[in-house]
């Protein structure tokens, strides 16, 4: 048996199919992954993401520490509530984890890290923090519910605590608002507008049930994966990991190279990689033939293997299969993927595939 979130019994009550994920027992779907996916694109859906881990980093050295720890520059965060997406690298330039960092005020930050990597991440952070004046606190006491979709805002508004409602509704995309106990980020992993709500575990069931009563559809990890794939968002462990760095995972935009003198973990290795001749491109693929793209399938061009699918699956919005792939630079747009020994035609496209309910690639 895996770890269970405060909402586990709610998932069981709703008839969820439970699967192991990153050490946790989590809902894969509540009947139909595809219907859950469409609910988020067309109305509103919610995800129990309490398995992800908020980590508070506070103290006089918090900023210099984060500027050393992360490939993106925490110094960009000057407005209260502002969020930053970044990779945390090892000295070889591989990705220890990807995370969102929120600025809560001078010397106060909150990172949200992946479920399966949380313990490793915290140990890594603590090792890097040695000798600095700061406190790293894992917030296992918080639950997390993501509400996503065009109707998310209207559905969530009446359910927020009085002290937070006005500020949360005014919060800009990629910012957060908070009061004493709740923290509401206008962030997400679906390509739709939405909110990620961190709240005391004891309040989670009440909010979940209120959202259910407001006709917000419960969605599992299955829909979360197809939504993030359509939205062009990477998944740790598939698209990047400790051996695959941000430059090889389409995440070059998250690296803050300037100022030059900022010394962050992995900088030297990344710089060498950047100047390396045999660069690979991280691209989107649209399958034009029949079938489903899956991780580790080979990408073919001119009859030879030129790359590999990293994340792939069926896109419910496009009703076609889509993927991310790492390919040799210069691979022609019209290529193929080896699906069970047969080459099936595919086309290189630029992610995201879908954003705010709209298809962004030519079918």
């Amino acid at each position: 048996m895996g770890l269970r979130t405060p909402l586990f019994s709610e998932h069981e009550r709703l008839g969820a199919r439970i699967v192991p994920f990153g050490g946790w027992d989590m809902p894969l779907h509540y009947g139909s992954q595809i219907e859950e996916h469409h609910a988020v694109r067309r109305a509103a859906g919610m995800f129990d993401v309490s398995h992800m881990r908020p980590v508070d980093i506070e103290g006089p050295d918090a900023l210099p520490f984060l500027r050393h720890l992360l490939a993106n520059d925490a110094a960009k965060l000057t407005a209260p509530g502002k969020a930053l997406y970044t990779c945390m690298l090892n000295p070889q330039g591989g990705v220890v984890d990807d995370l969102i960092l929120y600025f809560r005020g001078p010397e106060r930050y909150r990172a949200v890290v992946n479920a399966g990597t949380a313990e490793k991440d915290i140990a890594w952070m603590q090792a890097q923090a040695e000798g600095r004046q700061l406190n790293i606190q894992s917030r296992d006491d918080l639950a997390m519910i993501a509400v996503q979709g065009p109707d998310a805002r209207a559905r969530i508004e009446p359910l927020l605590p009085d002290g937070l409602r006005v500020s949360a509704m005014q919060v800009e995309p990629f910012f957060a608002a908070e009061d004493a106990h709740w923290f509401v980020g206008r962030t997400g992993y679906t390509g739709e507008d939405g909110f990620e709500i961190m709240l005391p575990s004891a309040d989670a069931v009440t909010l979940w049930r209120a959202l259910l009563a407001a006709e917000v559809r419960p969605c599992g990890l299955g829909a979360r994966d197809t939504l993030r794939l359509e939205a062009g968002m990477n998944l740790y462990g598939q698209d990047m990991d400790e051996t695959i760095g941000p430059l090889d995972a389409g995440l070059g935009w998250t690296i803050a190279w300037h100022p030059d003198e900022r010394d962050f973990v992995g900088r030297e290795a990344l710089t060498a990689r950047r100047d390396h001749l045999e660069r690979r491109d991280f691209v989107g693929l649209l399958l034009t033939g029949r079938g489903v793209l899956r991780p580790h399938q080979s990408v073919l061009a001119d009859g030879r293997v030129v790359g590999e699918v990293t994340s792939g699956g069926f896109s419910p919005t496009l009703e076609r299969s889509i993927a991310f792939a790492r390919v040799e630079a210069g691979t022609p747009d019209d290529c193929a993927v080896d699906i069970r020994g047969k080459p099936v035609n595919a086309r290189i496209v630029k992610p995201p595939f879908v954003r705010h309910g709209r298809i962004l690639v030519d079918l």
């Binding site: 992954q33 595809i34 299955g222 197809t226 079938g291 489903v292 899956r294 699956g313 069926f314």
Partner: protein, 130 residues
């Protein structure tokens, strides 16, 4: 508990087999299997006329989650595949024992059908798995 009609035969790999009474059988995947796979989005059906061995992988069912091989329960010749699945793979989710059938087979030896699992034995296999 998923449905397993008593007039069908089954395999441990979750295919069902219907005796058509004319020397042919129809093959599909069970209610339990479709439920475990989740939303089915693509089916690779076998070509008509293909000779298959017992337990040979001859079709692929892809759900949103994963690809699964479908095995022929008996040796014989594929005489028809369900073309409906090309456009409506979800028929397997909606109607696993009827509209969602996958292929029809002319077995080399119809008596081998009796060696496959009956419904209650199959249900036991499912219970042992879960």
């Amino acid at each position: 508990m998923s449905d397993a009609p008593t007039d069908l035969r089954y395999t441990k790999s979750h295919e069902w087999i219907r005796d058509n009474g004319d020397g042919t059988v129809t093959v599909g995947i069970t209610d339990h299997a479709q439920e475990a796979l989740g939303d089915i989005v693509f089916v690779e059906i076998p070509d008509q006329g293909r000779e298959v061995d017992a337990e040979e992988a001859c079709a692929v069912v892809e759900s949103v989650k994963a690809a699964s091989d479908i095995y022929s329960p008996l040796a014989g010749e594929v005489i028809e595949s369900n073309a409906l699945l090309n456009d409506s793979p979800e028929a397997i989710n909606n109607s696993p024992y009827d509209e969602g059938w996958i292929f029809r087979l002319a077995p080399n030896d119809m008596t081998a059908l009796a060696g496959l699992l009956d419904a209650s034995t199959y249900q036991q296999v499912v219970e042992d798995e879960t």
